[in-house]
């Protein structure tokens, strides 16, 4: 009798335990996003923010002929082993500068307007390993050059990620 009761209780508890282990799809906002060895969306946002801060901290937009300054996006090179859309970085910068009223982007590439600045850059990946620890360092390089081809603003930001063999999945 006692054994049967135990079995019944176990059968009743099991589905709750199973459902407790599964995670239903849900929207993640804030600090709960996954961090991987690749460049994540939050990394793009953080680096774009640092780059914008660096631009705003310099007087380049105040010295531009147009107010707001006219910007064209030049060559942005992905020199990493990962394939991602550069707009994850560049669009964030464009939107932030546009909303801040400091620069607008000429989407014709400068064909219709005389742009003040051309934005160009590169993302570089450097992988290394020591024992079971893997490291991926991503370097974000951006430049703003004027109509004479002079780099009037440049900056470089880095993000380094480390994980052990088990956690990075290779």
């Amino acid at each position: 009798m006692k054994m049967t009761l135990c079995k019944c209780l176990l059968i009743m508890i099991c589905p709750f335990l199973w459902s407790g282990c599964a995670t239903a799809p849900h929207v993640v906002e804030g600090p709960g996003k996954l961090t991987t060895m690749e460049i994540d969306t939050q990394d793009f946002a953080a680096k774009a923010d640092e780059m914008i801060q660096s631009m705003l901290d310099s007087p380049i937009f105040e010295k531009a002929a147009h107010k707001p300054a006219i910007l064209v996006v030049g060559r942005i090179v992905n020199n990493t082993g990962r394939n991602f859309d550069m707009d994850l970085l560049i669009k964030k910068i464009r939107v932030a500068l546009n909303k801040g009223g400091k620069a607008i982007t000429d989407i014709t590439g400068g064909a219709l307007n005389n742009p003040d600045f051309t934005l160009s850059g590169k993302i570089i990946e450097n992988r290394s390993r020591e024992g079971n620890t893997h490291q991926s360092a991503y370097t974000f390089q951006l430049s703003l050059s004027n109509s004479q081809g002079l780099a009037v603003w440049e900056d470089e930001k880095e993000i380094t990620k480390q994980g052990t063999r088990a956690s990075v999945g290779f």
């Binding site: 600090p31 946002a45 914008i52 705003l56 901290d57």
Partner: protein, 136 residues
Amino acid sequence: MKEYVMAVVAAVSLAQYGCSTVNTVEPSQQAAQRQILADKRITTDGRLYGRVRPIGVNTAVVPAGMLKIQIEVRNLTRSLQPFAYHIEWFDANGIIVNTPTSAWVDREIQGGETLSITGIAPTGDAKDFRIKFISR
């Protein structure tokens, strides 16, 4: 016995690795004059506050006319502490200013280290700010 000794040696070396702290040198009479703001703190994670503590906030205005803030954070422990922070900006009416670059930023702070976190408002309309911290 041999295994016990090896375990103790391993534990001691791990403890030493985890407890490297930062020594700091700076001028006793600082040339920079900082305007430290009076701040209001709401602490819900006492464990984090006991480890990584904001010690001061000062502000400036950048050439583009935006508000710039700097928060000094100190690690009160002797070990590396990971944490994340997020800066929110508000306009003159107290309405939040949303930007596509708004994100939680992961940082690490060494034992005993003081680090500075800076942020520049995304627009000239942003007049106020709030900084959130969470442990990692």
